[in-house]
């Protein structure tokens, strides 16, 4: 068994790492669910006349409907759908016949679906004629879902590619009816399934969304643009004065160093160490071709040594500040790492950059590389933490009893093989 404080530290570090992975996995799975659903056949809009009670919700990620609609809402929706249906019938009368695929955008589909349920006979007659002209191999397959109130003119399910497994309960009025105009050439279409593959390029974002989104990006741009007005200077001066006053009235002679700042500096020093080590390796591995290069290598190494000395000195100062309790009277063990940047090095208001990729394989390799880099970063951190705690244990325990051997074997596997392989220890007894 490992000592108590060592156990706690290491278990906490590993648990942190595991939690981070779990969080990321959860987000990925959420995105996967959404994307998979988008690539399937999209559920048609349900109307209340057909299905007053929602189907059991199989996707826990979809937010539950905000309560079942009141009877008042149901009646209003029915009136609305009847009105729309009438409008469509009027327009159908003036539209060209045989217009099928041209208007197969989501708008018309939504409209037609809303009308079909409340007027099955009229629409199905039309739709039946239309679907008989539809070429089956286009891949518009659907399972017949019973009790949905949709006309029976749907194509029988032949394909295995699309499954309507999601019972998305859509008993609420569809705002898309409001937002989108009914195209003049829309005939009441067959409620053909909408798949992204066939008709994705016909989609159009609603106007309301476009307006709000452009306003949003405009406001962000305004917020992140640098301000140079006088009021800004006056404000920043006022802020500095306020901070100063806060400090002087606190009556506390502290060194002014916060635990968060110490952490940041420690991070910088760690980075410094790794960069300097990298430079050292480069210099040591290069063979000097002439005197000048030799001199260059020598000076570089000496310079690195000097800088390392300075870093160590700074580290001593930080440790003295921490140990002397000048930071503050109440750190509770592991403080919650504040989410605020110290000194604002990262600008939070950047608008997103565009990242262009040309093929899914390219995107995949980029994403996998990103994950591998993060994984390696984490592994290196864990390696250092484990080294710091476990190597002294091996040195401190009493050899060569079995517990020590087991410890050695385990530590070797953890530290030198990434936990993947084990060594074997043989006791070499002298032949008697």
């Amino acid at each position: 068994m490992l000592p108590l404080d060592c156990s706690r530290r290491l278990v906490a570090e590993l648990r942190d790492a595991l939690d981070a992975c779990a969080e990321r996995q959860r987000q990925l799975e959420r995105s996967l669910r959404v994307s998979r659903r988008l690539l399937r056949t999209w559920e048609p809009a349900e109307t209340l006349a057909a299905e007053p009670t929602p189907e059991p919700e199989t996707d826990e990620e979809v937010p539950p409907p905000a309560g079942t609609p009141s009877p008042q809402d149901l009646r209003e929706l029915e009136l609305l759908t009847q009105a729309l249906e009438k409008a469509v019938r009027v327009r159908k009368g003036v539209s060209k016949a045989g217009e099928r695929h041209g208007a197969l955008s989501l708008k018309s589909a939504a409209t037609s679906r809303a009308t079909t349920a409340s007027a099955p006979p009229g629409a199905s007659g039309q739709a039946g004629r239309r679907t008989s002209e539809t070429k089956p191999p286009r891949g518009v397959h659907q399972t017949t879902v019973p009790a949905r109130g949709l006309p029976e003119c749907r194509l029988p399910s032949v394909g295995d590619r699309t499954r309507m497994g999601r019972g998305a309960s859509t008993t609420k009025p569809r705002p898309s009816l409001r937002d989108q105009q009914i195209p003049p050439s829309a005939a009441p279409q067959a409620p053909e399934a909408f798949t992204l593959k066939e008709k994705g390029s016909l989609l159009k974002l609603p106007m309301a969304y476009r307006k709000v989104a452009s306003q949003n990006s405009r406001l962000w741009a305004q917020l992140s643009s640098p301000q140079t007005s006088d009021s800004k200077d006056a404000a920043s001066m006022a802020k500095t004065q306020f901070l100063q006053k806060m400090k002087t009235t606190s009556g506390w002679p502290g060194s002014g160093l916060a635990a968060a700042e110490v952490e940041v500096e420690a991070g910088l020093l760690r980075k410094a160490c790794s960069l300097m080590r990298q430079r050292m390796e480069e210099v040591l591995s290069a063979d000097p071709a002439d005197r000048i290069q030799e001199y260059y290598s020598l000076l570089t190494l000496e310079g690195l040594q000097a800088i390392t000395g300075q870093c160590l000195h700074r580290l001593q100062e930080l440790r003295a500040a921490v140990a002397g309790q000048q930071l503050g009277p109440w750190p509770e063990g592991r403080c919650c790492r504040a989410s605020l940047p110290c000194g604002g090095r990262t600008d939070p208001t950047w608008s997103p950059q565009l990242l262009f990729y040309s093929s899914p394989e390219e995107l995949q390799s980029l994403a996998v590389l990103g994950l591998r880099v993060a994984m390696l970063d984490q592994q290196i951190h864990l390696q250092k933490v484990l080294m710091a705690d476990l190597l002294p244990l091996v040195g401190a325990r009493e050899p060569p009893g079995p517990p020590w051997l087991a410890l050695c074997r385990a530590v070797h596997s953890l530290l030198c093989e990434g936990g993947e392989r084990f060594l074997t220890v043989l006791r070499d007894e002298p032949a008697d």
Partner: protein
């Protein structure tokens, strides 16, 4: 009231309430302006709202969104500890009671202190920003490692066997494998969605829809919620811009609030530090630096000795070359120092990136190219692999040294090395 007294100070009447209203609208779960006014006079009824506001501001974003907020006492403790670690100078805060019933003026000062130190409002807005595009993780390790507040350490309190650690490491390895396969699948799906929605976006520069936008078309209810979130974010953004125009008068008012506080005269009361905090970050860095220093010393001394032995008789052109070399070394090392002082690797984009599928030939304009990023990441990957390998080698040597002292044992290393 404060406003009336300041009429002669140059600020317009009514500017302060507008400033405070803008502030409370920008803050997430911001308290009403009335709370601010009451806090100036240290009214106890204003305290709980301010504690909750500070908790929301200071706790990490993941916790704030998903979990139910803890009890007021726990919130108070977390706010105190977070402010302490940030370096809050006033000790009165530490002595406020944990039931959250007092100290509204002090909390108002704490909020103003946080506002004055950095771009707090922008940061809070960015935390809850509605992202409309698709992105892939190109995170730094730090972000991945601190997902939320530390779990309370009453769970695995006892000493553990090293096999438990091995098990945890193995679990971690499998989780990474899962992550990578899930991410690959997601990329394939994203590629499909992007290519199927070609030409749909109103912004020609983007060309296709993202998952969020397609989803809003598929599910109008979800789309309506997205629209609502965007609208409320717009309201907050407008309030933030309004705040920027009016914040001067707020700072003048805060001066008076600070002035109305009694001076701190009591001596410091230091609570004992938690002894179980272990070597900590600083100790780890110290060990690394000492190790590096030792290695450099070991490398420098023989080289300097060899150089001195060879020196002499190189002629006058040598001193010019010597000076040039010295300057070059000075410049290189200064650049190296700048690399870590400025923080952040230049190759990694800090900004979130919106994925856009485009034919390789047709790309122009600002933006990153996946191919370039891939190249940069490959270099970084190989550097990290080398670093990890070196660490493992060092461990191997150290263990060999420790174990080699024991005769009568044969160590058979695992195959595949």
């Amino acid at each position: 009231m404060g406003r009336r007294r300041r009429r002669g100070g140059g600020a317009r009447v009514g500017a302060l309430p507008e400033a405070i209203a803008a502030l409370s609208q920008t803050l997430p779960a911001g308290p009403s302006p009335e709370i601010f006014r009451r806090a100036k006079f240290d009214r106890p009824e204003a305290a709980p709202a301010l504690w909750q506001l500070l908790f929301r501001v200071l706790s990490p974003p993941a916790a704030a969104g998903t979990r139910a907020s803890p009890a007021l006492g726990a919130q108070v403790r977390l706010v105190k500890s977070a402010l302490c670690s940030q370096g809050y100078p006033r000790r009165v805060l530490a002595r406020l009671p944990e039931d959250g019933s007092q100290g509204s003026r002090e909390l108002l000062l704490a909020l103003a202190w946080l506002l004055a130190r950095g771009p707090l409002l922008e940061h809070l807005l960015a935390q809850t920003r509605v992202w409309l595009g698709d992105e892939i993780p190109l995170w730094q390790y730090e972000a991945l490692a601190s997902p939320g507040p530390p779990a309370p350490c009453q769970e695995a309190d006892g000493p553990v066997d090293i096999r438990h650690l091995q098990w945890l490491m193995g679990t971690l390895r499998f989780r990474w494998r899962d992550l990578i396969t899930s991410q690959q699948e997601l990329c394939a799906l994203l590629g499909k969605i992007h290519s199927y929605t070609r030409g749909c976006h109103s912004d020609r520069g983007l060309g296709h829809l993202s998952v969020a936008e397609t989803e809003l078309l598929r599910d109008p209810e979800g789309g309506r919620q997205l629209l609502q979130r965007l609208e409320s974010e717009n309201t907050r953004l407008e309030a933030a811009l309004q705040w920027r125009r009016r914040e001067l008068v707020f700072w003048q008012w805060m001066d008076t609030v600070l002035g109305s506080c009694p001076l701190q005269t009591s001596p410091a009361t230091f609570l004992p530090r938690d002894p179980a905090s272990g070597p900590g970050e600083l100790e780890l860095v110290a060990r690394e630096l000492r190790g590096l220093h030792g290695e450099l010393q070991g490398a420098v001394e023989p080289r300097r000795a060899a150089w001195e032995a060879k020196a002499g008789g190189w002629g006058p052109e040598w001193s010019a070359a010597q000076r040039a070399t010295q300057e070059a070394v000075g410049r290189d090392l200064a650049a190296l120092q700048r690399a870590w002082e400025q923080g952040g690797a230049p190759a990694q984009p800090h900004r979130p990136c919106r994925l856009v599928k485009r034919d390789a030939r047709a790309v122009e304009g600002p933006g990153l190219r996946a191919a370039e990023l891939t190249g940069a990441l490959r270099i970084r990957e190989s550097r990290l692999e080398t670093a990890l390998g070196q660490l493992q080698t060092r461990c191997r040597q150290e263990l060999a040294r420790l174990a080699g002292a024991e005769p009568g044992l044969i160590w058979i290393l695992p195959p595949g090395r």
